[in-house]
Amino acid sequence: MSETVPSTGFAAAPVSLRRRVKNALVTLAAAGAVILVLLPLGAILAYLIYKGVGSLNWAFLTQTPKPVGESGGGMANAIAGSALILLIASTIGVPIGIGAGIYLAEYGQNRLGNLIRFTADVLNGVPSIVVGIVAYGIVVIGQGHFSALAGGVALAIMMIPTITRTTEEMLLLVPNAVREAAYGLGVSRWRTVLSITLRTATSGVITGVMLAFARVAGETAPLLFTAFGNQYWNWKVNQPTAALSLQVFTYAISPFDEWHRQAWAGALILILLIVLAVSAVRLAASRGMLKGAN
């Protein structure tokens, strides 16, 4: 946006110096704000790479934590635990989220639809620690002990509203003419939704799912008293399980240098996974809009 106006032949009154200086100062301040905001981002990423890469080695990726005082060991069980918890969360959260999104887009132009839309937005704003309390109340108390399942349920609750709302938005982008064309061919409604509408919006829906995934992948608070953490390998759904983010937290607040070193390495792995997911979202979104919306 440029403020230079082509000459019209009228003599424009000169803009006073005070106004020009003020304009320049504000521009400078805005640019300064951008730099000030990007500074911590740069600092965080730089430190993660600087501290993380140094502590990253094969043992870190293949071994379980060593007891305090012994050097070495790694977070392999936490990486696997995170994968297990996220798998459980996605298995529960993705179908429900997409289903609710389909309901809102295809059948939800009524009171109930509006109520669900509203509650989805409410659910989106619930602090993650509160979700942890609820998962504790439902699963942990029910089972009698901490478990990967409880962690998965907590993360699923956090995934559902994001997936629901993005799925709805993406489905609404599909032109009605496409639906009508399907009905005109005698295709039944459920078939139209699944094979025509949802199919057209696939990349957008996937974007939503990955966004939700990236959002919960680094969550720690809801796992504190659901998955709880574990020093050993665990593949059982109903046992306490380590998670990458939990391990980073535990190590970061510990008093041991060796653990601090590993916390940085764990954080680096965590952020690499998330940046990868977010970049993939960008890519899918930029392609998906072209394919789905027009």
């Binding site: 946006m1 403020e3 803009v15 106004r19 020009r20 003020k22 304009n23 504000v26 521009t27 805005a30 704000a33 951008v34 905001v37 990007l38 911590p40 981002l41 965080i44 993660l48 501290k51 429900i96 289903g99 609710a100 309901y103 059948y107 939800g108 109930l112 669900i116 509650t119 409410v122 704003g125 619930v126 602090p127 993650s128 620690i129 509160v130 309390i133 609820v134 109340g137 509203p161 993005t166 938005e169 609404l172 039944s188 409604r189 459920w190 966004l211 990236a214 992948a217 680094g218 720690t220 608070a221 008293f225 983010s245 980073v248 937290f249 970061a252 607040i253 940085w264 952020i271 940046v275």
Partner: protein, 344 residues
């Protein structure tokens, strides 16, 4: 496009009839439709049920503490699990102070960033800048906490806090007259309310700036052109033409940021010091509602203790819900003419 094949009319009619019959007879699409509808409805109702479940869980599990203390729970400041005396005032205080501090720091920066990206920066820089600021929102809070403990807190301890004491320490002389500690008084630990406020500010900026950007984009282009045509400078155009029109939405973004700051757990827990004390000094350690749950929930042994923690959670839940609803109404009031967009 090749022309249609010449077909006899009667042939078409016969074919159409056959197709219609085939469609009517083929399968039980009516039943399938019904089943599909019910399945999708179930998913939708599930979302509704989840919120209901959250409320139910929080209310029933906190009833013990509610019956024991009532409203006084939020105004008492003793937190004594051994004698089962619980008052959440230090946590409420810590949550409010750290969030307000975060907003004070974050809002001017976030609006500056939004103004720069939407109105000032060259076109080619827009996308990358928007992406990078949003990347800040994608960093998990535990990583913010890790960075804050090992990088930011030492910086605060050695540079910022001594600087504040030196140049703003005089404020304590004023507050002493009213019987308070000054905001920049006491030993500079690094860890404490100030650290929590700063790390929260960094986390809140991307939320506020992305909403601000969205509502600024919603302001019609003609507004800008009209103000520029009157001879305004770019800043005057932004101030009168854009910011003034978008102010309700910007306020919505700020409140949404507040909602995030109130509920934020990990990063704050790692740097605030976790001491249930009320101190006027920003250097002193504090405690927030979310952190007390994070730290003590899995160690709470007695029912009353657990119930008190759940009540803190219930209060946190209710406050963030109200704040979020308010924010959504404000944002919606500006962008309602625009197509829906996800703001994640």
């Amino acid at each position: 496009m090749p022309g249609p094949q010449p077909v006899l009319k009667s042939e078409v009619a016969a074919k159409g009839k056959a197709q219609a019959e085939h469609l009517v007879n083929s399968g039980s699409s009516h039943v399938a439709d019904r089943i599909f509808y019910l399945a999708m409805l179930a998913c939708g109702v599930c979302v509704l049920g989840l919120v209901g479940l959250i409320v139910y869980e929080l209310v029933t599990k906190s009833s013990l503490s509610w019956h024991a203390f009532g409203w006084r729970f939020f105004f008492r400041s003793d937190w004594d699990p051994v004698n089962e005396q619980f008052g959440a005032f230090p946590f409420v205080y810590g949550t409010i102070v750290s969030s307000i501090l975060a907003l004070l720091l974050a809002v001017p920066l976030a609006i500056g960033v939004a103004v720069f990206i939407t109105e000032m920066c060259p076109r080619w820089l827009k996308g990358p800048l928007a992406f990078t600021t949003e990347l800040l929102a994608a960093i998990p809070s535990v990583i913010y906490g890790l960075w804050a403990i090992f990088v930011m807190v030492p910086l605060l301890r050695t540079y910022l806090e001594p600087f504040l004491v030196r140049y703003f320490g005089w404020t304590s002389e004023i507050t002493h007259r009213f019987g308070f500690q000054g905001p920049f008084e006491g030993p500079p630990f690094g860890i404490g309310m100030l650290a929590a406020g700063i790390i929260l500010a960094i986390m809140v900026v991307p939320i506020v700036s992305s909403i601000t950007r969205e509502v600024m984009t919603a302001v019609p282009q003609q507004q800008r052109e009209a103000v520029l045509a009157l001879g305004a400078t770019r800043w005057e155009m932004i101030r009168t033409g854009v910011l003034r029109n978008a102010r309700a939405g910007i306020l919505g973004g700020v409140i949404l940021g507040l909602g995030r700051a109130l509920g934020e757990t990990m990063a704050v827990t790692m740097v605030i010091g976790n001491r249930p004390e009320i101190a006027a000094s920003l250097f002193a350690p504090g405690y927030t509602m979310a952190s007390v749950i994070a730290n003590e929930f899995s160690e709470a042994t007695s029912d009353a203790y657990l119930s008190a923690l759940v009540e803190v959670g219930l209060a946190l839940f209710l406050v963030t819900i109200i704040v979020n609803i308010l924010a959504q109404i404000l944002v919606w009031s500006v962008t309602r003419g625009m197509p829906a967009r996800s703001h994640v």
